[in-house]
Amino acid sequence: MKVAVCVKQALEVSRYLEFTADGTRVDPAFVTTMVNEADLSAVEEALALVESAGDGEVVLFSAGEDGADEALRVALALGPQRAVRVWADGLALDDARTVGAALAQAIAAEAPDLVLCGVQSADTGQQSTGPVIAAAWGVPWVPVAHGLSLSGSTLTLHRDFEAGVTETVEVHLPAVVTIQVGANVPRYGTFKDKMRAKKADIPVVEPVGLPAPRMVVTRLTAAPGGSGRSLEMIKGGPADVAARIIALVREAN
């Protein structure tokens, strides 16, 4: 069987940050990158499915500029056979619809049995790429899933809702599934896989005929304290922290 997995190079920004001159990007000096956590769980799920199927391959996809190759190489080191980068000059990565449609084009050309994505990216978190790929590719999808098992062309899996509710569902392949954060513990690749990932040739597929983005980021502003709360750091050592906690508990209880 052939499983496609989408991975994203997610950004982490420092607490103090500055923006690029046009105000639509965080200055790269204040950014670190990492492969999106849920995407690595998607890779692990794909590798496990192919192993239990007995044969097949896992092909990685990422939409982005050269930097996306880094994410693809990190994910390749877990064991997938190949990776493809999807990019065209000016591809609107902020618009989930554009990203989903671009990935769907490249994925459809590979005709996989199953497409896995992480449930959401840790940096911009729209939970949208997987469902857009499914709609663009024209197949059913199951979001926020874990515990996948395959019997013939029927996939059985668990999907999570709010308040701890979990539903078991089945769907016929081909399909798109988004993998829940923490669905599994991604493996460490073998030394051989790591060496292969370093040297792997990563072809670029250029999407064609995409519509103009329907959503654009026009301006970024710093939001000190995600919630607008003002943070007071507790002075002193663990004993002072503990004393403060107890005082607050007595006040609130």
Binding site: G125, G164, R214, A223, S227, I246, A252
Partner: protein, 313 residues
């Protein structure tokens, strides 16, 4: 005047509280607001859905589960075709994100997910704000084409609309194709822990390190009479049962005091606790996103802090 369609969220046949917030967001835009309610017996929900500011309720009788996103997408598409809105608002929840982005593709709607503000500029064009990068950045987004916009709005941000005098309703018949996703079994969390009623919650995350280390936190929580909760990784690792989980797929809590031990502050956790009255975070990583959501913070080893707590009580 433009027209805004709100897609009600129905959970187990009842109107979910986030619907009132989505209506609040739509009414604040100053548009004509149509509310669509799809349920097995939608007429039974019209009274509860008669929010002030809603001009009309469109009901759709559905034969399937309110968890089925394939059906939800088909119904939403039919309602949008009927109402012809400029803006569609739905809550940013698992139910809505399950079909919303796919719907946006199929109907060519502009999509903004997890919006924390919606407004009209001086020309009347819609703009939205997204909170990104662990809440450290606000992104203003605009919609450069004339396609309708689907805005999925973050829960607990907008003031919920009040229920007022009865709103006129009409039913819309929608023919749906059978869902391509078959539901087999449903599991609800069990256990006698009710985090939603707790005044004080001690919550532990990956930073506690191992299952053995939880005993000290459970001991302190019990002796202080506070509830013990956890972030997703702790539950995934099997260290605590799922009923203790706070977050998007766990429980949403608003205690007077929430103490986060060794929790970094991933998006799905923040969704479940960011409206607590006072938040205190203890973490060894001073750069952890949780500190952006806390009133009080300490960069400290959670094990040393819990030892001190044990000796102080």
């Amino acid at each position: 005047m433009s027209r805004c369609l709100v897609l009600a969220e129905v959970i187990d046949g009842a109107l979910a509280a986030v619907t009132a917030e989505a209506v609040g967001a739509a009414v604040a835009l100053g548009d004509e607001v149509v509310l669509a309610v799809a349920a097995a017996d939608p007429d039974a929900l019209v009274a509860a859905a008669s929010f002030t500011g809603v001009t009309e309720i469109v009901t759709v009788a559905v034969g399937g589960s309110d968890r089925d996103h394939d059906l939800a997408k088909q119904i939403a598409a039919a309602v949008i075709a009927d109402v012809a809105p400029d803006v569609v608002v739905a809550p940013f929840t698992i139910r809505s994100t399950s079909f919303g982005p796919a719907l946006a593709h199929s109907l060519d709607l502009a999509l903004v997910a997890d919006a924390v503000a919606l407004q009209r500029d001086e020309d009347g064009a819609l703009t939205a704000i997204r909170s990104i990068y662990a809440g450290r950045v606000h992104a203003e987004v605009t919609f450069p084409t004339d396609r309708p916009v689907l805005a999925l709005v973050r829960p607990s941000v907008w003031v919920p609309a009040d229920v007022g005098s009865p709103v006129a309703s009409r039913s819309l018949a929608v023919d749906v194709e059978p869902s391509k996703v078959r539901a087999l079994d449903l599991v609800r969390p069990s256990g006698d822990v009710d985090l939603t009623r707790a005044d004080v919650i001690f919550s532990i995350g990956r930073g506690v390190g191992s299952q053995e280390n939880i005993a000290a936190f459970a001991d302190v929580a019990e002796r202080l009479g506070v509830a013990l909760a956890a972030s997703r990784p702790v539950v995934d690792a099997g260290w605590l049962p799922a009923v203790h989980q706070v977050g998007q797929t766990g429980v949403t809590v608003k205690p007077r005091l929430y103490v986060a031990f060794g929790i970094s502050g991933a998006l799905h956790h923040l969704a479940g606790m960011q409206n607590s009255k006072t938040i205190l975070a203890v973490n060894t990583d001073g750069d952890a996103p949780i500190f952006g959501y806390a009133d009080l913070g300490a960069v400290a080893d959670v094990h040393e802090v819990v030892e001190q707590l044990q000796s102080l009580i």
